[in-house]
Assembly symmetry: C2
Homo-oligomer: 261 residues x 2
């Protein structure tokens, strides 16, 4: 059971015009290391403080190292403030050593219906979604499983479908409503979509890009997480996130390292 | 007819350990401004010089301003050199004013076949691909059309199909072979995929992320460029690039501004 809230574990404390501190939670880790989307969200919290615009629209992160939990520093630098957007550089450091480098564009999210969208199918969930996300034995060392509520649309214990696709309902602890910043976590919250193809060890994110498309309605989000090409020791994955009102609120893409096959 | 080569217009001159210069070609522009993928490629050329690894694997750019052609500066900073990858920050400036901010991960591209891939269909081309890319009247101010060779799979003059999808054969001037750096241009070379939905004005790229997945074989590449969601004044597009041997060599995603509808 969760002992944390996302707001608390991603909270930043301002130290100067450009410097913040964050306390990375040992509970929001996989194999003892904080989730990559969580780290990017913490950087985005700091960016939001210094930005002239409130909502993160686009965030791109390259992961240099994988920090241990505990105190860390965040530095933000406004690169440009325009009429419709603020663009920033953000970095997360541990004991002065850079861990995550990010670029962020912040603006204002509107409330209009999309003008056009393609047909990426929003996942539908049957009765199985009432089950928790499977045996702890299948996912050892995943502390974060005790924090977030993840309900897959089929029994993960049944093994890979071969489609490279995971579909799940995702809720933050205590059903905390998602916001644009926590959506940066949502696009990286599920296990690697490659688990639906073949087992592998750790799949460390090299690069993660997220686009936030709308302010999410309260309630759990639906996540479609897909692998696209596995080769040369790397995999790219895409992620689509819909809010409880059925609006596509975030899209993510990542390149990760993988040893498989 | 082309008067340039991509190697020439993206060439960088080293000024110091971290500083380079580039001469942005007026021929590689749309509405007088250099193409965004071209700018990112120039930054990547500089990154390649200082990197301990030869091949760009992932590049993410946020576009702050749209520079005029002519002399520009590039600064690169190695963030981390690891065993398998070098990660860098790169920026392009005009008269000292930042225009493009980028993060890059360089490594070594292998030659193995993919272990797994999903079914994104590689475009097939019929006889129409022998035609050049339509009347200049349809695409005024697009100087770059005289440099690159773009052959769509259907007559663009027929108007939008409504699918938000452009498919084309793309060649560099003089059939210069693509390399990992020029693939960063390839993922941003086509007109906005939104042109296949409805006409609009300029669609300025806010963020562009590219993954290079294999070293391309010589010859033209096949490009599939798709729009996904248009709303709130922004559109996201994805791009897949296959080389002449049929290998998926690059994937791109971008968020752009748009006024439409």
């Amino acid at each position: 059971m969760s002992t944390t809230t996302f707001a608390a574990v991603s909270a930043v404390k301002q130290r100067s015009d450009t410097e913040f501190s964050v306390d990375l939670s040992p509970a929001w880790t996989i194999g003892g290391r904080p989730n990559g989307g969580y780290l990017l969200a913490a950087v985005a919290r700091a960016a939001t403080v210094v930005s002239g615009h409130p909502d993160v629209l686009a965030a791109s992160a390259h992961y240099l190292r994988s920090p241990e939990p505990g105190p860390a520093e965040i530095e933000v630098e406004v690169l440009r403030t325009g009429r419709t957007a603020t663009q920033l550089r953000g970095r997360l450091l541990k004991d002065g050593v850079p861990q995550v480098e990010a670029l962020l564009t912040l603006g204002v999210l509107g409330a209009a219906e999309p003008f056009w969208q393609d047909g990426v199918p929003r996942p539908e969930f049957g009765a199985f979604a009432d089950e928790p996300w499977g045996d702890a034995e299948l996912t050892p060392g995943i502390a974060i499983r005790d924090e977030i509520d993840v309900r897959f649309d089929r029994p993960i214990a049944d093994g890979p479908s071969g489609r490279g696709e995971l579909r799940a309902l995702l809720a933050l602890p205590g059903d905390e409503p998602f916001d644009p910043v926590s959506l940066l976590f949502a696009v990286d919250a599920l296990p690697p979509a490659t688990f639906d193809i073949a087992p592998s060890g750790w799949v460390p994110t090299l690069e993660l890009t997220a686009y936030v498309r709308a302010r999410p309605a309260p309630g759990p989000v639906r996540v479609l997480h897909r692998a696209h090409l596995i080769g040369d020791g790397r995999v790219d994955e895409s992620c689509h996130v819909w809010d409880s009102a059925g609006t596509l609120v975030a899209q993510g893409t990542q390149l990760a390292g993988i040893r498989i096959g």
